[in-house]
């Protein structure tokens, strides 16, 4: 029982942090793709979608190379005393990267559904582009953004491949998926089943909420 609470609590907490981390860039990229034409737009669109099609383990390995002590980013972080790989921060990174495409797709659909007439009229009333974004586009796209956040959160809850590569399976930073895999590997089917029920329950609620918000998964 203590493992169920510990692993579930940790997973939900990490997925929540990952969702908060991916929200600002996810909203910005979703808006950019919905509203702006710019050089490299299709490349950005493709890069953002990549984690959906590349095997999660491969994404995890790329992250490991990038964020490890000898990696581009990891070296810089290491020089200021911040360790990422095989810590809870690695779990957040893996979850955020894997959930990001779902958030962006849904946020983009949310922004595309906003009638440009509202934004135009707001501008004629003297609102700067930033004010138009904050007071018109963002609130009117909120359902899409919220649905995207819920989908991203759900994806984060179920994340396995990238997480196992970059965060491992260490006590204290073990997510639901990793814990289920470990129990299955050790033949502890009953313990795995308890965690599976928890994962299914969380996933059910999250997808149900996303559907209620009106954005197709």
């Amino acid at each position: 029982m203590s493992e169920l609470l510990e692993v579930t609590g940790f997973t939900v907490l990490m997925a929540s942090v990952a969702t908060l981390v991916m929200l600002p860039p996810g909203i910005c990229v979703g808006w950019l793709l919905a509203r702006r034409q710019f050089y490299g737009r299709s490349v950005l669109e493709t890069v953002v979608t990549l984690p959906l099609v590349v095997p999660p383990v491969a994404t995890g390995l790329i992250l490991l190379k990038l964020l490890g002590r000898r990696g581009w980013l990891g070296g810089v972080m290491d020089s200021v005393g911040v360790d990422i790989v095989f810590t809870w921060k690695a779990v957040v990174v893996a979850m955020a990267v894997m959930g990001f495409p779902l958030l962006v797709r849904s946020a983009r659909a949310g922004f595309e559904a906003v009638d440009r007439r509202y934004e135009g009229v707001a501008a004629t009333l003297g609102a700067s582009p930033v004010k138009v974004f904050l007071t018109i586009s963002l609130p009117l796209a909120r359902r899409g953004i919220l649905a995207g956040a819920v989908l991203g959160f759900s994806r984060a809850i179920g994340e396995f491949g990238a997480t196992i590569m970059i965060a491992g399976s260490l006590p204290g930073s073990r997510t639901l998926s990793v814990a289920i895999y470990r129990h299955a590997e050790l033949g502890q089917d009953a313990a795995a089943a308890v965690l599976i029920i928890a994962a299914v329950a969380i996933g059910f609620v999250a997808v149900h909420v996303a559907n209620r918000l009106g954005v197709a998964t």
Binding site: R117, V121, A122, T124, L125, G126, A127, V132
Partner: protein, 239 residues
């Protein structure tokens, strides 16, 4: 050469897909009506004045203020033009209350003070706490008009503001527009298909067809004894 008495000078060349708008208008009239069949470029013209579409070339000047001049490279962004725009679909912000809509463009107490007569003329006070969803058609028109007027616009752009209303409601709203014209003295461009409406509001009529000005005159000359709608009842959104 632009006359120094002109209230409005438009020389707009704008190409979009297969459609081309090429108009030249200079008038001292305070209320100008634009008439023409659907697709003739009326809304495109208003959008260009509002800064929502950039002309390929030309000049847009209201009073002494140049909003766009392709020769000098001037192109004031929409939010610096001080235009009161009431589009055909009104575009009231659905997530805001009436009060929030009306005060959306009001940035300081002085402007809010200026807006009090607007609220009185359009009888908006009792609607302020309502949501947009709860308003009737006529109330929506008045709120959209109030929102546009609250920013002390240098010109008011009205795109078929009464088109969605039945005749009885239209007759109730028209006096509000007349009061706006008489008491606030705000110059306006008024797009409409209804001669009776134009006679009441406008003092100059410009006819557009296929993106070109094909005539201009005072309303009496433009319509004579004509009544009813100038186009078929089938409506579609302008380009």
């Amino acid at each position: 050469m632009v006359s120094k008495h002109s209230l409005l000078t438009l020389a707009i060349q704008l190409r979009q897909g297969g459609f081309s708008l090429d108009v030249s208008v200079e008038t001292e009239a305070q209320a100008v009506a634009i008439v023409g069949p659907s697709g003739s470029g009326k809304t495109t013209m208003l959008d260009a004045v509002a800064g929502l579409r950039r002309p390929d070339a030309g000049l847009i000047q209201v009073g002494q203020e140049i909003l766009f001049n392709s020769h000098s490279g001037t192109n004031l962004p929409s939010h610096e033009r001080r235009i009161g725009y009431v589009p055909q679909d009104l575009a009231l912000f659905p997530h805001l209350t009436v009060q929030q809509n009306v005060l959306y463009g009001v940035s300081n107490a002085a402007t809010e003070e200026h807006g009090r007569p607007v609220l009185q003329i359009l009888e908006i006070q009792e609607l302020l706490s309502r949501t947009i969803d709860s308003l009737s058609g006529g109330e929506r028109q008045r709120v959209a008009l109030a929102r546009a007027l609250m920013v002390r616009p240098r010109i008011l752009l009205l795109d078929e503001p009464l088109a969605a209303l039945d005749i009885a409601l239209r007759d109730r709203i028209l006096p509000y527009l007349e009061r706006v014209r008489e008491e606030l003295k705000t110059p306006m461009i008024y797009v409409s298909h209804v001669p009776d409406e134009i006679r009441q509001i406008a003092d100059w009529v410009i006819r557009l067809d296929a993106g070109q000005v094909v005539g201009s005159s005072v309303p009496a000359e433009a319509f004579g004894a004509e009544t009813g709608n100038l186009t078929s009842p089938t409506r579609r959104r302008e380009r």
